[in-house]
């Protein structure tokens, strides 16, 4: 499954396409979306004009040509970073969409069935799908039940059941029906399915900037204006200084030098990489099989500080497991285990299977085939609230073994003229108090004992929650259990809070309360009744197995339907914001060194008298070779730093779940201090190379 693999950072084909796209993106209409790089492009153009004008006037300047070339490279490198990020994102998304392109839909028109191209489907159309058909587009099952192979999008090979009504009615375009027949109402027009939307999010033309990205663009545009002012007014100050040093005005700063200074000062690094960072954030979500319906969502994910987590599937393994047999007075534990296993042999529920396994593990009681023992399996019903077996012994009497809730078994034994002792009731109460589920086993009128069924908390989840707490994220467990049970599991799993006996309304209310207190809430859900809560939450992740309503309400869809995904999504969001902040800091910190390269270079002649080397050469602390090589080195450094940081922009800065202060200190040392020091070294090295 292609989505499971990481596309290598500079895949040859993608890189070639990106190179091509870098030139296409020189189109001014596209460039203007990135004001910083647009300014660089204008500067490149002006410098190029100066070079050609020089050629026509017969005084060609190699220096100006070099500046022009490297300025164009700066623009191209910035374009390349965006193109490669787009390419990777699209490749990731295309592999999801591939399956669907040639699908023929069997549309129902009146009573007739018409075969049309899947791309021509409209919202509200009804199509029929039978075993072997590929589902043409996202939709909802309105009639029938079918097993569907969703491996094309989830990578999970086991087929899933999709049926009308209930919480499992949504189907995704590109998946395949492998049994039975269903009618599907199409809910997304072609080009507007989740995957299409995801592709739109990474594609340049349609990509909407996210709120934080917009704010950051404004900041760097503002800084650009500040530096534009500083550079634009420089010739005036320079002119004054030339007169004061008795030098001719013809020595005033040339356009290429001014543009070189401007480009070095404005935040081109972050300006060039900003969109690549955003796109690769989407891409990292896709790698985790999560589809976001808006770029805003992934940013909000980083801000989420309360997570509502369903107990089942997220915190516990999802099923209660038998962990212990507690026999009644006068009954051996083996006898209880044997009866319990016998009654569960045909019980296909996870609880039932766990009883069989436990009896085998603890007492080596082997499983038996029910029909060989003249036994009939009595399944669980909502009325009886117990299950078990009836079997005939050799003497012809019929015995009944039942397991079920204490109330159900009490009435069962009493109806058989048996006693339900206080001792048993005490065991039951004690287990309930511990948060476990007691299952009482009885044979005819005799209570044999109690099976201890317990929610098993997932391994490692406690540590995960501790990490989240360190990051300042509070976890709230949501469960339908009573508060006793909920409290016990909450304590075991280490969540910060829990909601017992939670109804969908409770969830919605809780989210609103948290939000009113200024928190941002993330949740994951699947059912129709989760839809309002998913819509209300700042991050609502709908499971792909969930209903269409849930999927529409949330702002992300998890194709794997894995509830722990929520935590990963938060991490992706945080990493995205960190990457942006780190590269912005790096970019701004770079300016210090560039001043020390360029100012002494342009001002060397001022107040120099006869020597030609003025006092401001004292600022040349890097001891760069010549004024021209100093300016060129700064411009070259400024261009290639963009390329060098592309891998970082695509992969994101290293992320660890630590407190805000720890993360800040670390990133500040690397990108802040590093941002001040790196260009000093880089510019010096380039200068040495140029002067070799």
């Amino acid at each position: 499954m292609s989505t499971k693999q990481n596309i290598s950072l500079f895949n040859r084909k993608l890189a070639l396409q990106a190179v091509k796209d870098s030139f296409i993106k020189l189109n001014p209409a596209l460039l203007i979306k990135n004001p910083v790089i647009f300014i660089v492009a204008i500067g490149s153009l002006l410098t190029t004009i100066v070079v050609f004008a020089g050629i026509f006037q017969g005084n060609f300047s190699l220096f100006n040509l070099n500046i022009a070339i490297w300025l164009w490279f700066t623009v191209l490198f910035a374009n390349f970073s965006e193109a490669i990020a787009e390419g990777r994102g699209k490749a990731q998304a295309e592999s999801l969409r591939k399956n669907r392109t040639q699908t023929i839909a069997r549309k129902i028109e009146g009573k007739q069935e018409v075969a049309i191209n899947a791309t021509e489907l409209k919202k509200g159309d009804v199509v029929v799908c039978e075993a072997g058909d590929v589902i043409p587009s996202d939709g909802e099952v309105i009639e029938g039940i079918a097993s569907v192979d969703e491996s094309a999008i989830t990578g999970e090979s086991a087929p899933v059941i999709r049926e009308s009504g209930g919480d499992r009615s949504a189907v995704t375009g590109g998946t395949k029906v492998i049994s039975d027949r269903v009618l599907i109402r199409i809910t997304s027009e072609s080009g507007n399915t989740f995957i299409d939307r995801m592709i739109a999010l990474v594609e340049g033309a349609k990509r909407q900037k996210t709120p934080n990205e917009i704010a950051l663009s404004i900041l760097i545009s503002g800084l650009t204006i500040v530096f534009l002012l500083a550079v634009a007014t420089l010739p005036a100050f320079f002119s004054y200084s030339l007169s004061a040093s008795g030098l001719p005005q013809s020595q005033n700063l040339t356009i290429p030098v001014l543009i070189a200074l401007l480009v070095c000062l404005i935040p081109t690094t972050i300006g060039g990489l900003l969109s690549a960072i955003g796109i690769s954030g989407m891409d990292r979500l896709l790698q985790r099989n999560v589809i976001a319906t808006s770029g805003r969502a992934i940013e909000a994910a980083g801000d989420v500080d309360v997570l509502l987590l369903d107990k089942t599937g997220t915190i516990t393994l999802g099923n209660r497991m038998a962990t212990n047999f507690i026999p009644a007075e006068g009954v051996t534990v083996e006898e209880l285990a044997d009866a319990a296993q016998f009654s569960s042999l045909s019980d296909e529920t996870p609880e039932g299977r766990s009883i069989v396994v436990l009896a085998k593990e603890q007492f080596n009681i082997r499983g038996r085939e029910v029909h060989q023992l003249n036994a009939t399996f009595i399944p669980f019903t909502a009325q009886s609230r117990m299950s078990g077996v009836d079997f005939k012994t050799d003497d012809g009497t019929i015995h009944m073994i039942r397991k079920g809730s204490s109330e159900a078994i009490r009435s069962f034994v009493q109806s058989n003229n048996g006693f339900y002792t206080q001792k048993i009731q005490d065991i039951v109460s004690e287990l309930a108090r511990q948060g476990a589920t007691p299952l009482v086993v009885a044979e005819d009128k005799r209570v044999l004992g109690v099976i201890h069924l317990k929610d098993i908390v997932k391994g490692g989840i406690k540590q995960r929650f501790a990490e989240l707490r360190k990051m300042g994220i509070r976890t709230v467990m949501i469960t339908g259990d009573n508060s006793l049970t909920a409290a016990a599991i909450a304590a075991e799993a280490g969540v910060d809070d829990f909601m017992a006996e939670a109804t969908p309304e409770d969830k919605l209310r809780r989210i609103r309360e948290e939000q009113a207190n200024g928190h941002l809430v993330g949740m994951i859900g699947d059912g129709t009744n989760d839809a309002p809560a998913l819509a209300q939450a700042d991050i609502g992740i709908a499971m792909n197995t969930g209903t269409q309503a849930a999927r529409e309400a949330g702002n992300m869809v998890d194709l794997d339907s894995n509830p722990t995904k929520l935590i990963e999504v938060v991490e992706v969001g945080k990493q995205l914001l960190m990457t942006r902040g780190s590269l912005t800091t790096f970019s701004i910190a770079n300016d210090v060194a560039k001043y020390f390269a360029i100012i002494p270079a342009i001002a060397i002649s001022l107040y120099s008298g006869k020597s030609g080397i003025g006092p401001l050469s004292a600022l040349n602390i890097m001891n760069l070779g010549s004024p021209q090589s100093a300016i060129l080195s700064a411009v070259i450094f400024n261009a290639i730093i963009i390329v060098m940081l592309i891998p970082l922009a695509l992969k994101g800065v290293q992320y660890k779940p630590v407190s805000a202060n720890a993360a800040l200190t670390k990133n500040l040392l690397i990108y802040g201090l590093g941002g001040i020091i790196a260009p000093f070294i880089g510019i010096k090295l380039i200068d040495i190379l140029i002067n070799m």
């Binding site: 900041l219 000062l265 300042g472 990493q575 912005t584 800091t585 100012i599």
Partner: protein
């Protein structure tokens, strides 16, 4: 430097730090409408003021009305001061029979006093009557400082409150800060100053025969009352042209020390008030610490530059332009404080400072007057830098940036950028214009890089609403009066309006409770970050211009060349 110099500097900062929470806490009580000890003294006056002007002190407004009231109030103040200068010859209290002021000088002066700049293109004793000084300028000294406090209060409320559009009542803020803070402090201070020998009278100027036999006119006037507020309100406009080096303005070492302290007192104390109002005094101390560090570093560089030897004078102290009564340390402590605090009063000629000390003063202006800065103005300017710092660095913790629980988004960044741009536009564009145009250049008295420094200093002073001058520049010309006047307007309202807009937008937001995942803005790391952002964003812009001015001058001085 002598031990006494060090003792004085240490005493100065100890007092400043010690008085900050005391005055800060008092102002907190005043601005939040709590009970305080000045209430019985001036409470009646507050009530009368409201009754007389029909203000309901409890009625709060949104940021737009708040801004409108503020702008209207300032506009009326400007027109009034402008007109009384144009007609001062016809107005009373003009014993020296001074003529009407020229329109451009009147424009410049009224803008200057309205914007808390107190740039003086004129010489007070030979230009303005007692009437203009008292009814016009002294009143503006009070209300321009109170305006700064009002803007700060609106901003603080915006940060402290949540999901509301109420930012307070401009008239209430203006009245309370004037009546309970500025007025009592000024009265107290003026009385002390009179005790030290500062003049306070309505006498006609004395004409005396000097020992050499020459005739000298000795100006008089109600100086003490105006000097008190000019120091406390970070105004800086002297009663006499020589400002605080004049013996009638600053007669004794003790008056010098007090006037020095008064420069920084209210801006420093407001950081404590700020912390208290946003619910964490640590936040206030953090900002105080960043300001103090920048001030002390600047002071150290200046003192080093002044006391170190140079090839021209050797080890002789550089006494040119300094008042011998005060000496180097007091002059430098003053020049650093007055430029940092947007005060602009001087007790020495900044023009004569060594190049590096002059540059420190200039950088203090160029950074946007945020090192304590003007009353109210310094702190709200600093909060702009705090917002930028939080926005740039806050992302590095993996959350979208927030300050005091408020998300910083597109609008706040936009406004913060405008506020940073406004003074920079003034400094760079006007100074560039002046340095290449004949009306700009013809006012220069000095050649070479020093001339450029004079121009840069003048526009930085206007943009930062400081008001001190590098002298050496004849600024009372149409060109300078107008460009500096507009510079002061842009530097003042180009920040006030965006700040109030931020206040309005912040007030409407929810407040995210602090957690381990929050970017903390009250620790040493943040202080370091804030200083770095101020220096890089606020300062680096001016590095090219500075290198053609004071830096080259300093390097040339070491080569034995002066200008």
């Amino acid at each position: 430097m002598t031990v006494l110099d060090f003792i004085q500097i240490i005493l100065f900062f100890t007092l400043l730090i010690g008085l900050t929470p005391i005055l800060g806490n008092f102002m907190y009580k005043v601005f939040t409408g709590s009970k305080h000890f000045m209430l019985p003294v001036f409470g009646w006056l507050e009530r009368v003021t409201y009754k007389f002007s029909g203000i309901n002190p409890d009625e709060e407004t949104n940021w737009k009305s708040y801004t409108f009231s503020l702008l209207m109030f300032n506009l009326i103040g400007f027109i009034f001061v402008f007109l009384i200068q144009l007609f001062q010859a016809q107005l009373p209290l003009n014993p020296a029979n001074l003529p009407n002021v020229s329109w451009h000088s009147a424009f410049n002066t009224s803008v200057s006093f309205m914007t808390n700049t107190n740039w003086q293109g004129y010489a007070g004793e030979t230009t303005l009557s007692y009437f203009v000084q008292m009814i016009g300028l002294a009143v503006q000294n009070f209300v321009s400082a109170a305006t700064g406090i009002a803007v700060l209060l609106a901003l603080v409320r915006g940060l402290a409150r949540k999901t509301t559009d109420h930012l307070g009542n401009f008239w209430t803020d203006l009245t309370r800060s004037t009546l309970y803070v500025l007025l009592p402090l000024s009265i107290l201070f003026a009385v002390v100053l009179v005790g030290q020998g500062v003049v306070q009278n309505f006498k006609t100027y004395d004409t005396v025969q000097t020992i050499q036999g020459a005739t000298q006119v000795i100006p008089q006037g109600p100086a003490a009352s105006q000097i008190a507020i000019k120091q406390l309100g970070t105004n800086g406009g002297g009663f006499f042209n020589a400002n605080s080096s004049h013996p009638f303005e600053n007669p004794t070492p003790f008056s010098n020390f007090l006037e020095l302290l008064a420069i920084l007192l209210i801006p420093a104390a407001l950081t404590y008030t700020y912390g208290k109002m946003v619910g964490s005094t640590r936040q206030g101390w953090t900002i105080f610490a960043a300001m103090l560090i920048l001030l002390v570093v600047g002071l150290s560089i200046s003192l080093y530059a002044e006391y170190s030897s140079n090839p021209i004078f050797g080890h002789l102290p550089l006494m040119e332009g300094k008042e011998t009564r005060f000496g180097i340390t007091n002059s430098i402590l003053w020049s650093t404080s007055t430029s940092a605090a947007s005060n602009g009063s001087v007790n020495a000629m900044h023009d004569s400072l060594s190049p590096l000390a002059g540059m420190v003063a200039m950088i203090n202006l160029m950074l946007g007057e945020v090192i304590f800065g003007g009353v109210g103005a310094g702190l709200y300017g600093m909060v702009i830098f705090v917002i930028l710092t939080v926005f740039i660095a806050g992302l590095m913790v993996g959350r979208s940036p927030e300050y005091l629980g408020k998300k910083i988004q597109k609008f706040e960044v936009q406004m913060a950028i405008i506020a940073v741009l406004a003074p920079n536009i003034v400094i760079l564009l006007f100074a560039a214009w002046a340095s290449v145009s004949s009306p700009g250049l013809s006012s220069l008295n000095n050649a070479g890089p020093h001339g450029l420094s004079e121009i840069l200093y003048a526009y930085s002073s206007a943009a930062g609403n400081n008001g001190s001058a590098f002298a050496g520049l004849n600024a009372n010309t149409v060109f300078y009066n107008l460009t500096l006047g507009f510079g002061m307007l842009i530097g003042r309202f180009g920040i006030i309006v965006p700040v109030l807009a931020i206040a309005g937008s912040m007030a409407g937001k929810k407040k995210t409770p602090s957690s381990a995942g929050t970017f903390h803005t009250d620790n040493w790391l943040f202080i370091g970050l804030l200083i770095a952002v101020i220096l890089i964003v606020g300062g680096l812009t001016h590095f090219p211009a500075l290198s053609f001015g004071p830096i080259v001058e300093h390097l040339q001085m070491n080569n034995g060349i002066t200008f």
